[in-house]
């Protein structure tokens, strides 16, 4: 757990640093609160992890992370992310050392919950347009190392996020704010890419 805590803690610092970029992206199409959602949520996750016992289960850690993320800012993205993390937590109930299949199951549960709760479909210019292809990449990356899974997910997520530039928002505040300034990608999709990148950049060499 200690290594995990360090990893995630450092990743959260890096994730939080995306604040400015995400504020600008969300402001172009929505209300500009996404940057704060990410920085406050990331800080909350880091400090919540610090309070966890060393022998905490992955399920409990995910639940704590989810609730901490929700607490950062009562935004759509935070609530969707938290609901996803809580679903992943339920999917990993009783699992102490998650296998590749467990991780896939966790991501799938999160993705399904986000889709159901948010009511968005692929192509609606949301985080799902990066998340769903990244899970597909994770699934086909079976058998490799965490670092390789992450690398594959990042490639797919980036491509998915890139494509959102051409999509029209149908969900969230962005939908009624109307036209998106410029040819920019969806903030939520980019946030997810930045999360994966932060996890990759701070990953410890296997112990």
């Amino acid at each position: 757990m200690t290594a995990f805590r360090v990893w995630i803690g450092e990743a959260m610092d890096r994730f939080a640093a995306a604040e400015e970029e995400l504020t600008a992206l969300d402001a172009a199409a929505g209300d500009g609160d996404l940057g704060y959602t990410i920085s406050a949520g990331a800080r909350g996750i880091k400090s919540a992890l610090a309070d966890l016992p060393d022998d905490v289960s992955p399920a409990d850690a995910l639940k704590t992370i989810g609730m901490a993320f929700a607490r950062g800012n009562p935004s759509s993205f935070a609530a969707l992310g938290a609901a996803g993390l809580l679903a992943a937590s339920r999917a990993l109930d009783q699992v102490m050392s998650p296998t590749h299949a467990d991780v896939v199951r966790g991501f799938e549960a999160a993705s399904e919950t986000i889709a159901t709760r948010g009511g968005a479909e692929l192509g609606d210019r949301t985080v799902l347009d990066a998340l769903v292809p990244s899970i597909e990449a994770l699934r086909t990356a079976e058998g490799e190392t965490t670092a390789q899974w992450l690398a594959a997910m990042i490639v797919a997520a980036r491509e998915g996020a890139r494509r959102t530039s051409e999509m029209t928002p149908r969900r969230g505040r962005a939908a009624w704010v109307g036209t998106v300034d410029g040819n920019k990608p969806d903030g939520g999709a980019i946030a997810y890419v930045r999360l994966l990148e932060a996890l990759e950049a701070t990953q410890q060499p296997p112990q």
Partner: protein, 332 residues
């Protein structure tokens, strides 16, 4: 205003100071409030919530014969899931809790999260979202519509059902029936100013109005030239009536709601016309409500809501209700 950051909290502090006999904090740093006399053992709790800046929506409808508890967000922002959970816990008297609020994604996502957590703690919850604004989506996508002043009718009828002792399923069914039976539409004449940014939520020309405006300044169906009060009344009535299938035998309640900066006098000029029109159609206006029931800071404009009544909704509407913001005698 003092500081924009402290605005929502200072409003709540002022309200708690003004009405200690009616409301108390339910935790979450005063972002959850509950009726001072809650919980009443055996009674279903009704929890509402959403962003600040719409008084009396939402917290003004916490009271006897109305909602039990409320979760309060920042200006025009969703309530947190923490506040929603605290409100649910405070409202629960063992008979379960209905979350009754406006249909906004952020509000819903945070309420759903709170319900997940409340249910894990053994509290039974149901959720009904008011989606009365016909301008926000066509009838075939009614579930995407936003909740506006029709919330008032929901609190009034559903609160009365809980007060008379209906169980959670019955209270939830009443809430669904109100949602099916209420439609609203508004016009905007001047924007609200967001306290944080100091910026108006939209801009209008001197002689323009936004038809179908939402309570956050969301644009509506179209922007048009400024109309007379009678023309506004006609357009709004013609927009809300068709889906309700109101006919000569129908009995309805009407709400003319001011968005904040429009003088009450104007609302009565509009009601005058609605009444004439409805009289000509032989529709019975069982009760008329005119005033500021759901506002949007300094936004100017108004909305018209119609609730189609059946015998039960009529009884529930006429039941007494008391909160610091809305008070009605027993009219049954």
């Amino acid at each position: 205003m003092n500081s924009p950051e402290a605005f929502a909290d200072e409003v709540v502090e002022g309200i708690l100071a003004a009405y200690p006999e009616s409301l108390r904090s339910a935790g979450a740093a005063n972002r959850a409030l509950v009726r001072a006399d809650a919980p009443t053992p055996g009674k279903v709790g009704i929890v509402t919530g959403g962003g600040s800046g719409h008084l009396p929506v939402f917290l003004g409808y916490v009271g006897s014969g109305l909602a039990t508890a409320v979760a309060i967000g920042n200006v025009f922002s969703a309530q947190s899931s923490d506040a929603a959970l605290a409100a649910i816990e405070a409202a629960d008297a063992g008979a379960g809790v209905l979350c009754l609020y406006g249909n906004y994604t952020g509000d819903r996502l945070n309420f759903d999260l709170a319900c997940d957590l409340a249910q894990a703690n053994g509290i039974r919850t149901t959720s009904v979202r008011v989606a009365d604004d016909v301008a926000s989506a066509p009838a075939d996508r009614a579930s995407e519509r936003r909740g506006v002043a029709g919330l008032f009718f929901a609190y009034k009828c559903v609160g009365a059902a809980a007060e008379r002792g209906d169980d959670l399923d019955k209270v939830t069914a009443v809430a669904r029936r109100v949602v099916e039976s209420v439609r609203s539409m508004g016009v905007g004449l001047a924007p609200s100013i967001l306290p944080t940014s100091g910026k108006p939520t939209f801009s209008l020309g001197e002689n323009e109005m936004e038809i179908g405006i939402g309570i956050h300044g969301e644009p509506g169906q179209r922007r048009g030239e400024l109309l007379s009060a009678d023309e506004v009344a006609d357009q709004l009535l013609d927009a809300v009536l068709p889906e309700l299938e109101v006919s000569a035998e129908s009995r309805i309640a009407v709400l003319v709601n001011g968005l904040g900066a429009t003088p009450p006098e104007e609302l009565y000029v509009v009601y005058r016309r609605l009444h004439q029109r409805l009289e000509k159609m032989d529709v019975t206006v069982h009760r008329a409500y005119v005033g500021e029931y759901a506002t949007s800071l300094e936004m100017a404009g108004l909305s018209v809501s119609v609730l189609r009544l059946d015998e039960e909704l009529k009884q529930l509407l006429d039941a007494p209700a008391h909160s610091p913001f809305f008070s009605q005698r027993d009219l049954r």
